[in-house]
């Protein structure tokens, strides 16, 4: 892992808390993880891992790396929509933050560190954004279908086809970016273009 001078100041020292009582075998889990990947991992936990159960089930575990690997693999097998790279990142992040020696109460990720982090999004240019319905179908299937059902007809989340919110694009955006209740916030996972594509696809349904 290469660390730029800029982000070195924001290295997450999470794993150095509560070292007492940690055996040599566990020490190899204690990596540090820099700000950008930690942020991406948190985003994945909300967007990908919270489909079937809330994220508190994850945060209460204190496991060595091998058991995190097995757990993430089991979740993929059961239907968690993550790529191999995302799985690797999650294992790295989870075994750094939630290792067996970590205290029961972990401090929240530092807020300074959050503000300093640049967006993981592609640079945004001026001008109108045009949603492409054909792309939106795939993005929906990958990210939203688990809760909103095939063809957005409803499931654990409400149906989205032919609903008033589609006519109010500002509200739709607000909802998808920020989330509400059991609806995850997508701002750290989907680009503005992705969201516009989903919207474009939904209005054709």
């Amino acid at each position: 892992m290469t660390i730029s001078g800029h982000s070195r100041a924001f290295l997450l020292m999470i794993s150095l808390v509560g070292l007492a009582g940690v055996t040599a075998a566990q020490k190899e889990d204690l990596g540090v993880i820099s700000a950008a990947p930690a942020l991406r991992a948190e985003g994945l936990i909300i967007a990908r891992c919270s489909v079937c159960h809330s994220a508190d089930l994850i945060a209460q575990q204190r496991l060595p790396r091998a058991r995190w690997e097995a757990t993430v693999e089991k979740m993929e097998h059961w239907g968690a929509e993550i790529s191999n790279d995302e799985a690797d990142l999650l294992v790295r992040y989870l075994s750094a933050r939630y290792h067996p020696g970590a205290p029961d109460q972990l401090p929240p990720l530092d807020s300074e560190f959050r503000k300093a982090e640049p967006l993981a999004q592609e640079p945004v240019a001026e001008g109108p954004l045009t949603g492409v319905a054909a792309r939106g179908a795939g993005i929906f299937e990958h990210n939203c279908q688990a809760c909103h059902g095939a063809m957005a007809i409803g499931g654990m989340g409400p149906k989205l086809v032919k609903t008033p919110i589609l006519k109010h694009e500002e509200l739709f955006l607000e909802m998808v970016l920020h989330g509400r209740g059991a609806m995850p916030a997508w701002s750290s996972v989907l680009s503005p273009q992705d969201i516009a594509d989903i919207h474009a696809w939904l209005v054709t349904r």
Partner: protein
């Protein structure tokens, strides 16, 4: 058809601004989600009152141990555990719900709740306990819901005998296992269903019932309405909620929740190593006791202190409960008090004369009629089932 055009124009500048705001919100949400989700899950306050929530969705919540000063655990204070959360109420409501009995039977049958109530009613008091209760105390730590002490409760259950229902369908001699499936479903269909079976001997035991009442009330939704299995003396993984399907089979149930989860190694395993050898399903409870009062961290005045709690042995009666105030060097026998029923827990009490100020750790351990006594810790197993180490409460006696 919708008249809106397929392509929408959104101002990029507006979007960028929202993305930045959204980022902060993502993290804020991460912390508030449990509370919000419990609300979104339709769990009203009086259905799950004062429980300690471990997982907001699907709801997993335990009872604070001080509740156990009462013999029966009220429905609204009873621990809540399921793999996928309760199914929607509608298919479970009276006109829609059916119980199907099939497999190795002469007459496959379906029953309404009224049909079932034709059988003789049985009422019994039994402890129901999650197999993972106390998982948080295992070392090395193991994955799963990090239950502490309160994933257990004692309630009065009313229903009909499973064996009466099976007899009506006509058991075939090849049937060795009885499989249960409930109406609960995972949000994503690729997740294995919660399907379990119990061996014939337990299924035909006169105390194994299909319960429709809990503490004199119709079974609440969170506890398996309208019908759940109660296998008295066995861990709750056999007590399927929202029961819809009973299948008589020659073999044990297949699938993750029978063949992988809820199993313990037959021979002690090296700590921290995943089990590779033989394993058996978690079935009977092991002898266990809890201190309900005083509470952890409490400050007491010097003088007589009533130490009280509960103890249970599953299918075996509790013979003795002992208390230690010197980390287990010496033990004093407590008095067993209150009601005494098979499968239920026993209340116990010991009066301790707190003379000196300071911090004290109270320990308790129980022994059953077969001579099994709780040890300081339980045998480690990879999924952290069946914890029954000594219970422990630390208190302060004020000067």
């Amino acid at each position: 058809m919708n008249e809106e055009p397929a392509s929408r124009s959104l101002s990029r500048r507006t979007l960028l601004k929202r993305v930045i705001q959204g980022l902060g919100v993502t993290f804020a949400l991460g912390h508030v989600i449990p509370r919000v989700m419990a609300e979104a899950g339709g769990v009203s306050k009086n259905e799950a009152d004062h429980l300690i929530v471990h997982v907001a969705r699907p709801l997993d919540a335990e009872t604070p141990v001080q509740e156990f000063v009462s013999y029966l655990t009220p429905n609204s204070r009873f621990f809540v555990r399921s793999h996928f959360g309760p199914p929607p109420a509608e298919p479970l409501s009276d006109p829609n719900w059916r119980l199907s009995v099939s497999g190795l039977v002469d007459r496959p049958l379906t029953f309404t709740l009224q049909d079932l109530k034709q059988f003789e009613e049985v009422t019994l008091t039994a402890v129901v306990q999650c197999s993972g209760n106390g998982r948080v105390f295992h070392r090395p730590k193991v994955p799963g819901v990090q239950w502490e002490r309160g994933a257990v409760g004692n309630a009065q259950w009313a229903g009909v005998r499973l064996r009466d229902v099976l007899a009506q369908a006509g058991m075939q001699t090849k049937g060795r296992h009885v499989q249960f499936q409930g109406a609960d479903r995972p949000v994503v269909a690729t997740v294995p269903l919660f399907i379990r079976s119990i061996p014939l001997e337990k299924a035909l035991h006169p105390d194994t019932i299909l319960a429709y009442e809990m503490n004199g009330r119709p079974l609440p939704l969170l506890h398996g309405a309208p019908l759940r299995v109660i296998t008295p003396g066995w861990m709750a993984d056999s007590c399927t909620k929202w029961l819809t399907d009973i299948t008589v089979q020659a073999e044990e149930a297949k699938g993750y929740y029978m063949q992988t989860a809820y199993r313990v190694p037959t021979t002690p395993v090296e700590q921290g190593i995943a089990a590779r050898g033989q394993s058996i399903p978690v079935e009977a409870m092991v002898v266990k006791s809890l201190i309900a009062a005083p509470q952890e961290g409490e400050t007491l005045k010097s003088g007589p202190v009533s130490i009280q709690g509960v103890a249970w042995g599953g299918e075996v009666k509790v013979a003795k409960v002992e208390v230690s105030l010197d980390e287990g060097k010496t033990w004093e026998t407590a008095r067993l008090v209150g009601e005494d029923h098979p499968y239920a827990w026993r209340q116990w009490q010991l009066v301790w004369k707190a003379k000196t100020a300071g911090t004290f750790t109270i320990l308790c351990r129980a022994t059953d009629d077969h001579g099994q006594t709780q040890s300081k810790t339980s045998p480690w197993n990879p999924s952290g089932y069946l914890w029954n180490g000594w219970d422990r409460v630390t208190i302060t006696v004020a000067a």
